[in-house]
Every structure is written in C-alpha cells, then in structure tokens.
C-alpha cells in the first residue's frame, strides 16, 4: 500500500511557471543596477546612500502598514524595493536624505497601500511620490549637481556645494541645444536626477528586462518613438536636417525619458494589459511629454504625462480588447452591421 496521506485535490492546471511576482520584481531591481552604478561613478557614493535609505524607508513603511492593519506582510514580493529604487532615481543627488525617505513613505502608504496594496493602486507609487516631493520641496528637487562634485555622504548639501548647473533639459527648454554632447548624455555625464542621466545604462537594463520577458517592447517603443518623431518634425528654433537630428537625440536622451519609458510607464499595475492598449498608452505618454516640455511651466514632463496616462488605463483596456478566437474581424463586423 502507498502512503496517500499528503494527497490534495485541486483544480487544474497542476504545474506553474517558475517566475513569480518576487522574481519579476527582482529582475527589475537587477535591471536598475547599471544605472545605479553609473550614478555612483558620476556623483559619488551619496547616490548609493540615498538609494539604500529610500529603499529601506519604502520597505519599512509597507511592513509597518501591514502590521498596523493586521495584514499578512507583503514586503516579500519586493515591489517596495522597486518603488524605493525608482523614487531615489528621481531625486537630485544633492537632496537631503530625509526628503526621499518621506517621499517613499508617501508613495507606499498613500499611493499604494491605501488603495489595497500591490495591484490595486491606479498611479505609479514612485511617480506619485515624486510629484509629492516636487510640490513640497521644489527647490530641493531642482538643485542639480555638477558632474564629479565632491558631495558629503550624508550631511546636507548647500547651494555652493552643489555647484548648481543647468541640465540639458533646462537648456532645451530655452530652445537651444545643450552643451552636453550625445556621448555625454549616453554615459550620464550631465546634470540631472540620480538615476536618469545615463541613457545607455538604462537601455542595457531595458534590454535585460526584454530578454527576461519581464516587459514587452510595446510601451517603451511607442513612448520613445513618439517623442523622437515629434521632436524631429517640430524642433524648437527650427533648422536644417542635422540640427533636427541633434535636437531629437537631445530630447530623447536627456531628462527622465529613458527611465520613464523603460521602467515607469511599463509598471504592470498602472499600464494597459492588451498590446494595442500598450501602444496607445505609450503614444499618449510621448505626446504629453513633448507638450509639457514645449509648452508647460516645467522643463520635464515625463512623470506627469505617465501619471495622467495611468488614470486612463482601464478605459484604454476596455476599448482595445483583442479579437477573440472564432469571432469575425472587427472591420467585417462593422460592415455586416451596416
């Protein structure tokens, strides 16, 4: 006789893929490491201190929230770590440590847990945290540091320390090409937020995510291509082909576009699930980003454009359902109806 005491009866299927929420989030963290490394090399170890502090704040906030509300702890899924890293990537290196820590607590508690935790929030928590900090401490949020400035690990940074510098985006806003070369922008040797400056490091991370099938190419491609096409077609200050080209590349490679398109707009919870919907979402983000950069009061529009598109996700999904197997083509259906 065989020992059947452990046998359980459940509904099929009885095998599951290896990837789970935790491993997907871990992959996102891994994909963010090249950008973090570039940041540490460019701006010093303060980058690392800020990132680690924000991650700890986010994880602790989620753990405490679960504790207080008598919920099973959800920090094991590592989504709070991703939020922490992304939030830290969105502040200048000169920021005091307490600022992203408070931002992280806001992101986790207000933008995520109060809506029901992972999967239920309608806005990207990291971007909500960034918007909150932008509204609260706009001065600190736009104090850019010169590349190679010798910043303290922890202590506060004064304006003179930071040796404030104009970011490529700020120059673009005035309608002129930035001083930084394309290569400098690729390698992150410009002023800007902690993790957003090196387009190349972010692209490497994106390639890793695509290889691991964590994300699909739809949203980043739609987003970046939209920005590229519009900025090429309508360069500020207008000029010949070479100028247009340089203008377009500067727009695409500077600011938070790469970070936003690859890591923030692709956030599962706050992006559409159908492939048509993802393309529409990406194009919408791209259009809004260029509008804000060209006509808005701020130099950067990536975070607000993604936040605006976040609110439209369910609507986009609803009107872009795929044609189901065994049903007539949508165009045919319309014709038949007529």
């Amino acid at each position: 006789m065989y020992d059947l005491s452990k046998v359980v009866v459940t509904s099929s299927p009885h095998i599951k893929a290896a990837d789970d929420t935790r491993s997907l989030m871990l992959d996102v963290c891994i994909a963010l490491l090249p950008a973090l490394a570039v940041s540490v090399l460019t701006f010093g170890a303060r980058s690392l201190v800020l990132t680690v502090a924000t991650v700890i704040a986010c994880v602790l906030a989620e753990w405490l929230y679960c504790k207080v509300c008598h919920l099973p702890s959800s920090i094991g899924d590592l989504s709070a770590v991703v939020t922490g890293m992304l939030l830290a990537f969105n502040v200048p290196v000169s920021a005091p440590v307490w600022m992203p820590v408070i931002g992280g607590v806001f992101a986790i508690i207000i933008a995520k847990m109060l809506f029901g935790g992972i999967g239920k929030n309608f806005m990207n928590p990291a971007l909500a945290g960034r918007a909150f900090m932008m509204a609260s401490w706009s001065g600190l949020m736009t104090l850019w540091t010169r590349v190679g400035a010798d910043l303290p690990f922890f202590g506060s940074v004064t304006v003179t320390d930071a040796i404030s510098t104009a970011t490529p985006l700020a120059t673009l806003k005035t309608g002129a090409l930035p001083d930084a070369t394309i290569v400098e922008m690729l390698l992150g040797q410009t002023g800007g937020c902690l993790g957003e400056t090196s387009a190349l490091a972010l692209l490497i991370g994106g390639a890793y995510l695509l290889y691991r099938k964590v994300i699909t190419i739809n949203i980043p491609a739609a987003y970046i291509l939209t920005v590229a096409v519009i900025t090429f077609a309508f360069p500020m200050g207008g000029g010949d082909l070479a100028y247009r080209f340089q203008w377009m590349l500067s727009q695409v490679l500077s600011g938070g576009l790469m970070l936003g398109a690859i890591f923030m707009a692709t956030d599962y919870v706050t992006s559409p699930v159908t492939s048509d919907g993802q393309w529409i979402f990406g194009v919408g983000c791209g259009l809004l980003t260029v509008f804000i950069r060209y006509f808005g009061g701020l130099p950067e529009g990536v975070s607000y454009s993604i936040l605006i598109m976040n609110t439209l996700v369910w609507t986009i999904d609803k009107y872009n359902r795929p044609r189901m197997f065994g049903y007539p083509e949508k165009s045919k259906k319309k014709k038949e109806a007529q």
């Binding site: 046998v7 459940t10 299927p13 009885h14 789970d20 997907l24 992006s271 795929p322 197997f325 065994g326």
Partner: protein
Amino acid sequence: MVYTFRGGIHPGPHSDPGFKAATNTKPIEVMPAPEQVILPVSMHIGAPAKPIVAKGDIVDMGQMIAEAGGFVSAPVHATVSGKVIAVEPRLHPNGSKVMSIVIENDGEDRLHESVHPYDFASMTNDERINLIWTAGMVGHGGATFPTHVKIKGAIGTVDTVIVNAAECEPYITSDHRLLLERPEEVVGGLKMLCDIIGAKQGIIGIELNKENAFAKLEELIKDDDRLKLYPLKCKYPQGAEKQLINACTGREVPSGKLPADAGCAVFNVDTTGAIYRRFTTGMPVVRRVVTVSGSAVADPKNLEARIGTPIVKLIDACGGLKEAPNKLLMGGPMMGNAQFSLDIPVMKGTNAFLCFSGEEDKRVEDPKCIRCGKCIAACPMHLLPMYMNVYGKLGDLDECVKVGMMDCIECGSCAYVCPARIPLVAQFRLSKGQITAKRMAAKAAAEAKAKAEAAAAEAKK
C-alpha cells in the same frame, strides 16, 4: 515549414521541454492482465452504457457487456475473459461512485466470437460506422467523445481529417511511442477515416519533439496523395482541437460551433489506431497505452494496460512510488483531474497517470494580481483572463461573457504563467457554471411565461 497558432506556453525547463525526457525513449511495455478489471459504464461523454450481463455470467474477451445507452453513447466490452463478480457502483475518476462491471480474470484471454477481421473495402459506410460504434470507440485523448457521432456529423461537411499527434500536454508520451512503434496502425486508421468521411485530405499534425517518428510516417503516407504530415511547433496547447485546426489549415472554428463547421474532424492517435485494429483484427477497445510518470514515480514508463486495470497495478509495474505523493493526476498536468485514490481503473481516455511529490503546483495563500498581462499573451483563444477573473469575482456575469468567459477552453495556460499564482481556471469554471445556470433559469422562466400566456388565452376563449 512549421505550423502553429498565436498564444500558448512552453512548460518545462530548457533541458527538458515538456517534462517528457523521463519516458519518451522508453518502449511501450505490455502489462500482464490483472486478476480483476473494473469497467465503469461511463467512460465517455454522453449517456451511460446499460449493463447486459449479470453477476455470475462467464464472459469472453471482446464481448460486449454493456450496450450504448443512446446515440451519443458507447458500449463497454470485457477486456479479459472470466466471470462477472459484481455489477455495482465503484469509485470512478470523476470522484463519485459509478455503476461498474467487475470481472475476475480466468487468465485464458479466450476471444469472443465477434472478434474476427472485417473486410473494410466491401462494407457499406453505415456498416463501417456501426462497427466503430459497436467497438466502443471514443476519443482517447481524454475528452472521450463517441467516435461514431463525430464521423456521422463529418460526412458531407468535412473535407479535412486531422490526426492529433501534437501531444502537447507535458509528461505524456503514450502517443509519441505509438507513432514510433506502430505508425502503420495510425496511418491505416487515417486512410479508413478519409474513406468513410470522404475527405479530400488527411493531415497528421505532429509536434517537432517527435521528429524521430517523421521518416517512418512519411514513408507510409507517400503512396496516398490525400495524406500529409504537418510539423507543428512545440507549444502548449498545440493539440487543443481549435488550435490544431488553426495551425494546420488556417481556419478558425467559429465561437460556439463545432470543428465540422470549419470543415475539419480531429481524431486522437490512439483512436485512429484502434479504428484500424477494429477492422483488421475485430478487436473492440480493450487496451490502451498509459504514460506513468511524475516526480514520485520510481521508474516512469509507457505501459499498455487492459481497460479496467486498477491504477495501483500500473504504479506497481513502475517500481512503486519513491516518495509519498501530494498530487495524483489522471491525464496531463495542465488539464488532468486530481485523484485521491489509486483504486480507480484505467479508462478509455486515460492517456497518463502522474504522481507528484514536489511543489509542482506552487499554490499560494491570498494571491494578488499585478496586472502583468502575461495571461493575455498566453491565452490561445485571445481572451482576457485577467479581466475574466476580475468580473468573475465581482459576479458581473454579462461582462464576463463579453471578455470571453464562455469561449474559454480551460487549457490552463493563463494560470500556468500567472506570477501571482491566481487559480484562474478554477474561477472560470465557477463563473461558467453560474452563467449556464442563469441562462437555463432565464429559458425556463420564458417557457413558463409563454405557457401561462397560452393558458390565459385559452381561458379567454
């Protein structure tokens, strides 16, 4: 050219795609007939068969012991010779007790007089179909739809017969071994099916992981212009009827319709072989090949067993269990049914029996959807499993239907890829049941109303 469909999944590690390595090189081993066989009268979809023997009767191998209970039904035959020792409800793989005929084997395998070769060429179509019906033929892939009904429905409407040699379910290799070891039966059966149905083409749709069977099959089909071999991409659920038809012919079976509406009829490898054997030897369905595998099985094998053999005998023949199992499955891991006993018999649709001792099913407490959309990319029916789950949980049945609930084939691809481990298929079964119940209630209400109105009109007169 390799054919396939859109969607689907690739179960198993790169080193062992489909978990088939444990048995795909092991030849079919013929099991000795057991001392007792248990033959439930329901081994098919449709009306149960009616027992025509009583306790104490002596029966021969191949003798009909239960007759079809209607047109959509299949008879049952004695799979050994011996004495009927019980006609009583016994445990059935569906979890309940079902009327079964238990035969004590006398070890003689004395053949019944009806078991003799038939001359296919000289028979009329009605005689041929009747011979298939009286053989108790059903779909051996697990769905167990009576074969004669499928054939009858196909005549005049179907131009393409497809043999489903995809065998996309992980772990299972019984069809693979049949194609390797007895390809002439499969090809012979396909020719007969094409003749009966009058089909223009007969396709063998076979996944690339069975490439070692291609050469022999191509050799066998080359003298018949109708027959073709279609290599298919290794992907689950390549062998699902609608996906297989789509891959082989490019046609889509319309929603809510049958394969015949797309001009196709699909038959299982083992069923096709059984049809061939019925005409060449006269033997009805009395045995089948079962893959016994899984992490708890000591020595996984492909076994040919008499229908009605208790599963525990198959486990014994595989060296027993090396660990206490936590899952027993009749059929594959994607669509098979979980069992709680080993005393159930091998049935006509039992292509595999799996015993797992590890964490294969990875269940979690309180799973949370992260809207990753992997279920949508995996769905071979191009539905929205994520939203089906949301609306199903909310009880919004109208919206459920709009996002495809009733088109779901329950293949489990969505639940397999779900990183949150949400039991999606379980929810869909529940919601489908609710939708069906609601529709039936609405229909009954409408009928009652019509009746009442008619009665009222009558009263007025």
